[in-house]
């Protein structure tokens, strides 16, 4: 448990000093948002659907960037190797990396989500807390699997390119659920409609967190 906090604190402090990750992710997601806005134009018929889709694409791309960068930094620092040699429980290492990546992604989302509202001229939703909750669940699902797969991808020659190929097909339920839930919330639909998607997101998060914790042991065995 101590290992968890130690690694998390190390990553957060490192990021606080250098501010590489979050700034790059935020700027990249802004670029993606703006480009999609140009490409799509603002459709008067379904602005909430389009906005939800574009927002989650921006989050996905930023998340991928963040995962790659964070593991590249780890590789450069050689900290992970040292940690793995220690008798610490591997699961805590995985959880620490995951929570760290999640934190950075959530910070970036705090930028992306308001920007989406501005660029797409959306009304403030009735349940803003639920929008945040959807963002959290979606990001958690993304980051939990992504941290594991990024760990695998960095061991290959292809590195950064391989992660999206591995991650995106697995992430399809998260993407579908998150976009649908966000679109419904933005369109001020009743919460009963959204609850199904939230349940699916929650189920995915739980199942895959458990799977990834188990799998991480095998991935980092030397």
């Amino acid at each position: 448990m101590r290992v968890f906090w130690a690694i998390l604190w190390k990553d957060v402090r490192q990021e606080w000093r250098r501010r590489e990750l979050v700034v790059v992710m935020a700027v990249f997601s802004l670029v993606v948002l703006v480009m999609f806005s140009f490409a799509l134009g603002i459709r008067p018929d379904r602005p909430t659907e389009v906005a939800a889709a574009v927002m989650w694409i921006a989050i996905t791309f930023a998340g991928t960037l963040g995962l790659n960068r964070s593991l590249a930094l780890e590789r450069d620092d050689q900290c992970l190797r040292a940690l793995l040699l220690s008798p610490a429980d591997r699961s805590w290492i995985y959880l620490a990396k995951t929570v760290g990546n999640l934190l950075f992604l959530l910070i970036v989302e705090a930028v992306i989500v308001p920007l989406t509202f501005v660029l797409f001229n959306l009304d403030v939703p009735e349940h803003p807390g639920w929008v945040g909750f959807v963002c959290f669940l979606g990001s958690f699902g993304f980051v939990s699997v992504g941290t594991l797969l990024a760990g695998m991808a960095t061991a290959t020659r292809m590195r950064d390119w391989l992660l999206p190929l591995l991650l995106f097909p697995i992430q399809v339920p998260v993407l579908i659920s998150a976009v649908r839930a966000t679109a419904l919330l933005l369109a001020a639909r009743p919460l009963e409609d959204v609850s199904l998607w939230l349940a699916l997101l929650g189920a995915f998060d739980l199942v895959f967190l458990a799977l990834c914790i188990i799998a991480f042991e095998h991935v980092v065995e030397e």
Partner: protein, 232 residues
């Protein structure tokens, strides 16, 4: 390679060939035309077995991946790899024959319904697995990583299917014959032809996996010899 095994191989090969010939005979000569779709319905008899083999191969690969993670025996890794590679071939065939069947039947090449979409995502997962095999340098690590990918994929597939069903809504099969209600809406002569074709493709799958498995054994031996040569 003893005599009994090679006899088994030859028997298997002859059965596959016999099966393919019988299937073609049954499909084109014995079975009549279907009312609505006419001749283009014949694609069904190759498309459905390919789809069946796709899911069988992935299931086998998933189970073998889990077995490998638990036991670490290279045999399981070879089965997982062989089954997945052969499965990818059949998935590609499904994705090619599917739209060719769909265009005369439904008027469009592609619909985002649950089965087709899930098969497409499955194809992407299989390609990711194969890329991982190719690009991870150490064979031991490649085996572990691919086993993890296989595990994630096999657990994820029902979730993907369910999420697409929710997304698109459950719409009834636009065609008379439903693959889900196996044989439910099928006249008996169609069903017989389909069964023969199915059995043939399943046997073909088993033979191909066997060949691929043997090639993996040989490849491992080559790597071992190469390592010994370097050490000298």
């Amino acid at each position: 390679m003893n005599g009994r095994t090679s006899r088994l191989w030859i028997a298997g090969t002859m059965l596959v060939i016999g099966g393919l010939v019988s299937s073609l005979y049954l499909i084109f000569i014995r079975t009549g035309l279907e009312e609505t779709l006419g001749f283009s319905q014949k694609i069904f008899y190759f498309h459905v077995p390919c789809a069946w083999v796709t899911y069988l191969a992935f299931a086998v690969s998933g189970i073998a991946s889990v077995a490998y993670l638990v036991r670490s025996s290279p045999r399981w890794d070879r089965i997982a790899h062989a089954s997945l590679e052969v499965g990818t071939v059949f998935t590609t065939l499904v994705l090619v024959t599917g739209p060719l069947w769909a265009k005369p039947a439904w008027g469009v090449y592609w619909v985002w319904d649950a089965r087709l979409t899930t098969t497409l995502i499955l194809w992407l997962i299989e390609i990711a697995y194969l890329l991982l095999r190719v690009f991870v340098e150490e064979p031991g690590k490649a085996a572990k990583y691919c086993a993890v990918m296989g595990l994630l994929g096999v657990i994820d597939l029902p979730i993907i299917h369910y999420s697409v069903v929710l997304w698109r809504g459950i719409h009834p099969d636009p065609v008379v014959i439903s693959r889900k209600g196996f044989g439910a809406g099928l006249p008996s002569e169609f069903l017989l032809t389909l069964m023969v074709s199915l059995a043939t493709f399943t046997l073909l799958y088993v033979m191909l996996v066997g060949v691929r498995y043997r090639l993996e054994v040989v490849r491992e031996r080559v790597n071992l010899l190469r390592q010994r040569a370097l050490e000298r």
